[in-house]
Amino acid sequence: MVIIMNENEKDFMNSLNDLDDLSVEEIAENYPALDEKSKKRILKKCMEKSGFSAYADDDEREEITVSGTERYNRVSWSRYVSSAAALIIAVVGIAGVVMIHGNLNGNDDFEIDTPPSVSSYDTEAESVSEETTKTTKNKGYIAGGHDYANDTDYSGIIVGGTPQTPPTVDESSSEDTAENEDTPVVNNNSNNNTPVQPATQAPVTPPVTEALTAPPVTEPVTDAVQSEAQKSYLNDLYYVEIEGVSGCLGFNFMPDGTLNKFAFNDYGNMYADTSVLCSYEIIGNQFSYGVAGDELNWKTGTIVNPNDTGNFNVQFEDGLYYFNVGEPVFTKFKEEIVFAGVTYYGYGVYDERVFTFYEDGTSGSYITTKYGTGMSFTYSINGDEITFHMGEDDNIIKAKIITDNLQSAFAFQWSDGNIEYFYYDSFYK
C-alpha cells in the first residue's frame, strides 16, 4: 500500500473530513461540537422551517400571555362593569313594574307568576335579574336542585310561564360559559338558591401565575450573578503588558466567570508553571482579581480609558497594566534572543521546521516535521542579520531577524522575502 502524501500538511489533514460512518459516530460521541449557542441557532432554524415562530411554544408562549393579552384582561374587568349596569337596569325595571302594578290594581299583595321579561336579555344582566327574581315570592320557580348549567334553550318554557322550569338566567349563563370558556360563570350559584354576589367574586385569574414567577432558565447561573461589565470581558484572552516590565501576563477570562492568569517570558512564550486560577470582580471602574478565598490578597486597580477595540488599562499600585486583546509587543527580547542550546519550532510559508541550535553557538541543524528531511548548518549573527551556511555544499542563506510585534519568539525574514515564525520549545521539555 502506497500512501500518497499531499503537497502540504493542510491537505493531508483535510483527509479527516472523509471518514467512514463509524469514525464519524465516534467523533460525534467523544468530541461533541455543538455548544448552547449553536443548538439555539439550529433550533431557531428548525422552528422557522417547520412553520412555527421561533418562539411559538411553551415557555415563550407563556411569556407572551404574561405580558397581558385582551383575552384575560377584558373578561376580568368588563364583567363587573356589565354586571353593575345590568343590576341598575334590573332594579329600575322591577321597581317600575311594581309601581305600575301598585298604581293600576291598588293591590299590595301581588304575585308575579312568571319570570320577568328582563330575564330573556341576552347579556350578563341575566345573572342579576335572577338575583332580583329570587327576592320575590316566586323564587321557588327558579330555584331547584337541577343543574341547569348545561341546559341550553329554555326560552319557550319560560315564555309559557310554567312553574318548576329553569329560568332564562341559566340559558344566558350557558351561553356565557360557551363564550368565555376560561372564565367561571358568575351565576352558577343560582342553583344553590344563594344570592349572587358579584362584588365578592374573585376576578378571573389568568393561568399564568407560574410563568410570572418562574425564573428564566436559559441563562447559566454564573451570568446571573455577573455584572454587565464582567460579561463584556468574558471569553477573551488579554495580553497584559506592564509598564517598565519585560514580557507580559496573560489574562484569560473563562466562560465560567473565572480568570486564568499566566505569564509569558521575554520570548513571548508562556510559562506553564505560572498559570493561576483566579476570580475577579468589576464594580464600577474598579477591577479586582485574585485567588478565590484569599480576598485579602486581591489586587484592585482602576480601569482607565477603555475603548471600542476592547482594550483597556488598569492602574494598579505597582504600575499601569495594559490589557490588549491583540498580539503583544515583546520589545525587550530583541537583544536577548538566545540561539545556542535552544530548539525552535518554525512555521510560515515553508513546511514546519524545527531548528536546533547547538551549544557551541555556531552550528545547528533543522528538520521538517512533515517529511523528516533537513540538514546541518553553521551560522553567524551580525546585528539583526543571521547568515546560514547550509549543508555540505555550504549554501549561504541570509535572513533578517525580526522581533517586534510578534506573538512568536522571533521570525526570520529570508532573502526571498518570506517570513518564518519561531516558537521556543522549552515548554514541552
Binding site: 500500500m1 502506497v2 500512501i3 500518497i4 502524501m5 500538511e9 493531508f12 489533514m13 483535510n14 483527509s15 479527516l16 473530513n17 472523509d18 471518514l19 467512514d20 460512518d21 469514525s23 464519524v24 459516530e25 467523533i27 460525534a28 460521541e29 468530541y31 461540537a33 455543538l34 455548544d35 449553536s38 443548538k39 441557532r41 439550529i42 433550533l43 428548525c46 422552528m47 422551517k49 417547520s50 412555527f52 411554544d57 411553551d58 415563550e60 471569553n235 484572552l237 496573560g250 484569560n252 473563562m254 466562560p255 486564568n260 499566566f262 508562556m270 506553564a272 498559570s275 519550532y345 512555521y347 514546519e352 524545527v354 516535521t369 517529511y371 523528516g372 506573538q407 516558537y423 515548554f427
Partner: protein
C-alpha cells in the same frame, strides 16, 4: 424513543421535540454533515443543513419501520443524503470546493477510480487512528481543528486551555502524526 414517540412529542410541543432531538442527535448529524461538506461549506451552511435534516425527520416521522434498522441509522441516512444535496447546492453556488475531489466525497466510486478511492479511504482511516492514538488533549485539538474547523481560540475555550498552549500542542501533534505516517507505523 421511537420515531412515533418523536412524532407524538412533536405534535404536543414542536419546540421541545426539536430541543430533545438536537440534544440526542444534534452532534451526530452535525458531524455527518461536516464530514461531507466541511471542506467547502461555511458554518452557517452546515447548521442550515443540520436543521433541514431535522425538519425532514419530523415531517417523515411515523414512516420509519423499526424492522429496517435502528433509528440512528435511519437518521444517519437522512443526514448523508441531505448533506449530499447541500454539497451540490453549495458547489453550484460557488466554486469553493473546486480544489477537492468532489466525487470522492459525495458519490460512491466508479470502477475506474475504485483503487484510488480505496487508498484515500484507508489513508483517512489510518490518519484517524493516529489522531486517536495521540492521547488527550492532542486528539481533541486535532479533531476540533481539522474535522470541525474550529479556530485555536475556540478550541482553547472548549478545552479550557490558553490559545498559545493549543497552538503549540497542535504543532507538536502534527509533527508526531507526520513522523508516524513517514515511518509507516500506522498500518494496523
Amino acid at each position: 424513543m421511537t420515531d412515533s414517540e418523536w412524532e407524538y412529542l412533536f405534535e404536543d410541543s414542536p419546540r421541545k421535540a426539536y430541543e430533545y432531538f438536537i440534544e440526542q442527535y444534534g452532534n451526530l448529524i452535525y458531524a455527518i454533515v461536516l464530514n461531507k461538506i466541511g471542506n467547502c461549506a461555511s458554518r452557517e451552511d452546515v447548521e442550515d443543513c443540520v436543521s433541514d435534516i431535522m425538519v425532514e425527520f419530523f415531517r417523515n416521522a411515523g414512516r420509519f419501520s423499526s424492522g429496517s434498522g435502528s433509528l440512528k441509522s435511519y437518521i444517519s441516512t437522512i443526514a448523508k443524503r441531505r448533506a449530499i444535496d447541500a454539497f451540490r447546492q453549495i458547489t453550484g453556488r460557488n466554486n469553493m470546493c473546486s480544489d477537492i475531489d468532489d466525487e470522492s466525497i459525495v458519490i460512491p466510486p466508479s470502477s475506474d477510480d475504485t483503487e484510488e478511492e480505496a487508498e484515500k479511504r484507508i489513508f483517512s482511516q489510518n490518519l484517524w487512528n493516529i489522531v486517536k492514538s495521540l492521547g488527550e488533549p492532542d486528539s481533541s485539538i486535532i479533531v476540533y481543528q481539522y474535522f470541525y474547523n474550529h479556530t485555536v481560540h475556540e478550541i482553547a475555550k472548549i478545552l479550557e486551555m490558553t490559545s498559545g498552549a493549543v497552538q503549540k500542542r497542535s504543532i507538536r501533534a502534527r509533527k508526531k502524526i507526520g513522523t508516524i505516517l513517514r515511518n509507516g507505523d500506522y498500518y494496523e
